[in-house]
């Protein structure tokens, strides 16, 4: 019988500093059978253990087309994330998963795609952006609007530069507060909307970021004609088991870990508790 609570051993194969408090970790499973069979969907999450310290859920941030080495971007805010930040390449952690429903992918083909990311909300969306770019011709317009608190809070800065240049996507970013070197847009991410030339027909918006940002972005999107079922976001809750048993992440009759973390705004409104 499978033991859903027992992690698999994984090794850190690389660490990239993103910001002053955020790093991207690359992992590989130690056991060959686990490594070879591991697959994940965009938007799914993993439970990562620092043994003896704790375990926490993290959305996978890398391309599901390359599951043998996968990446997770982690901001140091609590005991588990701070302990993760202490680790070095070659260190081992425990990983369970993937869990959750994930973003729709194939259903998005032939549509205009809008991504709106706030801060550390970009990493989970990247697990969808990258495979869409792998199959670029199957999607219509792809637009990314990314906002962060300051230029120092932007993650994936090398990749952002590529996105700014490539004709395959329309990319814009904004920071809440600039610095002397910043020449781009200043303001919350919604200030990009009037300048963005949004495609609102045959379009789906993926929104990820802090709760307050999600709330305002959804209002903006509704105002610009996006139907609730075409606004897709992720919900977060304090979570332990990842498999619908511990009860912490229940919202109404749904479990964020099983029925989510991805929900359309239409489905969010059906929950019996206010979520956005």
């Amino acid at each position: 019988m499978d033991n859903i609570y027992l992690p698999h051993k994984a090794i850190i194969t690389g660490i990239q500093d993103e910001t002053y408090d955020t790093k991207t970790f690359e992992f590989e499973f130690v056991e060959r059978a686990v490594k070879e069979s591991f697959r994940f969907l965009p938007g799914q999450f993993l439970e990562i253990s620092v043994l003896g310290i704790g375990e926490a859920p993290f959305g996978v941030a890398s391309n599901p087309n390359h599951p043998e080495r996968f990446r997770v971007t982690i901001r140091a805010v609590g005991s588990v994330t701070r302990a993760l930040h202490e680790l070095k390449t070659g260190d081992r952690v425990g990983i369970r998963g993937p869990f959750g429903n994930g973003f729709p992918f194939h259903e998005m083909k032939g549509k205009n795609i809008l991504f709106v990311a706030g801060g550390i909300g970009l990493p989970p969306l990247r697990s969808l952006i990258e495979p869409m770019l792998d199959s670029r011709s199957e999607f219509k317009d792809i637009q990314i609007l990314y906002g962060a608190r300051s230029p120092a809070d932007l993650v994936y800065t090398d990749r952002l530069k590529e996105w700014e240049k490539t004709p395959e996507i329309r990319f814009m970013m904004s920071v809440d507060a600039g610095d002397p070197a910043w020449t781009g847009n200043v303001g919350v991410v919604t200030t990009l909307f009037p300048k963005a030339g949004l495609r609102t027909q045959n379009a789906v918006a993926f929104v990820c970021g802090p709760p307050v940002m999600i709330r305002f972005v959804i209002l903006e999107l509704l105002g610009r004609g996006f139907a609730p079922e075409n606004i897709i976001s992720t919900l977060e809750r304090y979570m332990k088991c990842g498999v619908g048993k511990c009860g912490h992440c229940a919202v109404g009759h749904k479990y964020i870990c099983l029925d989510g973390p991805v929900f359309s705004y239409k489905d969010m409104m059906k929950l019996s508790e206010k979520v956005v």
Partner: protein
Amino acid sequence: MEQVVLQKSNLNHWVELMHRGFQVVAPSRVQGEIFFLPHAGQLESDLLCGIATLPYLPPKDIVFPQSETLFSFTRGAGDIDFSVPDRPPEKRVLLGIRSCDTVGLNWLDHFYLSNFHDFYYQNRRDPLTLISIACTQPMKNCFCICCEGGPFLHPETTAFDIQLVDLEDRYLVECNSEKGKALVDLNRNLFSQPDPSMVEARDQAETKSHTRFLQEPTSYMSAAIRRITSNSVPPEVWTELGERCFDDGGCTFVCPCCSCFGVGYTAKGETGCHYRFWDSCDYSGFTREVSGHNPRAEKGERFKRRFFHKLSYHYVKKDGRIGCVGCGRCITACPGEVGMPAVVERLRRG
């Protein structure tokens, strides 16, 4: 379902036979309080009769301990070793569990053994045989009759191994599974075949029992279920009820159907373990996130959550029944007098 008859004077002998292959857990008094404990010495026969003498705690800790190790680990030479606790070796008989608690265990079975099997629960549940006792007389907080939680069990709604029906100097022994039959097979000579009058007496006992349970405070659930399901309970009602909650978690710990757990982590040097423990949606920390954000910071919100999980039709569809078996323990445990029937009554009034 096979029915046989056991003279009460033969019960001790039967249980001694069980001891050869099983650990027997039975209700026992410790300083006047009743607990399910590994049986030693004489059985307390007054706890095994038709009167609903309910231990303060349900026997859920037998399958879902208050705290249990998920795995331990050892770090060394650049690697980690995991080890999972062994399956508990002994087979167990839980003797004298009441109908409500058996229905509660059924609820936990359904929850823990469907859609992602819980390894630890399964390991403790598989070797367990249930000998349930039908209640012929309620205690003051019993409302199982409102919740399909008793006073008698029926094979079409509840899985059990044996049900004993108290018929004065004898038990009618109803075997509802192979596990139950195996216990009777320990010595068939202890049992006799029931004559038709015994079966009739059993049915009369059930009818009488229903009459007695209906005289106890009852809990008219349907309006509460409807209002909770349709989310039409005014927020101020939840606030009002929440103000009477002491945040002590007592109702959740004594509830046969409460299944939530937290996970803890310890390490000393290079070894340590991850373990789980009973947690409670009554606690504000249950949903508090590392950022400090807490979606259920208000007591009323937490109160609503608990009763939504227990009674909403969404969960009835998921779990097959409401998450209350009418044992009345939350009434006993709650210092704020907001056990299930009081809440149901408040919601019924709208």
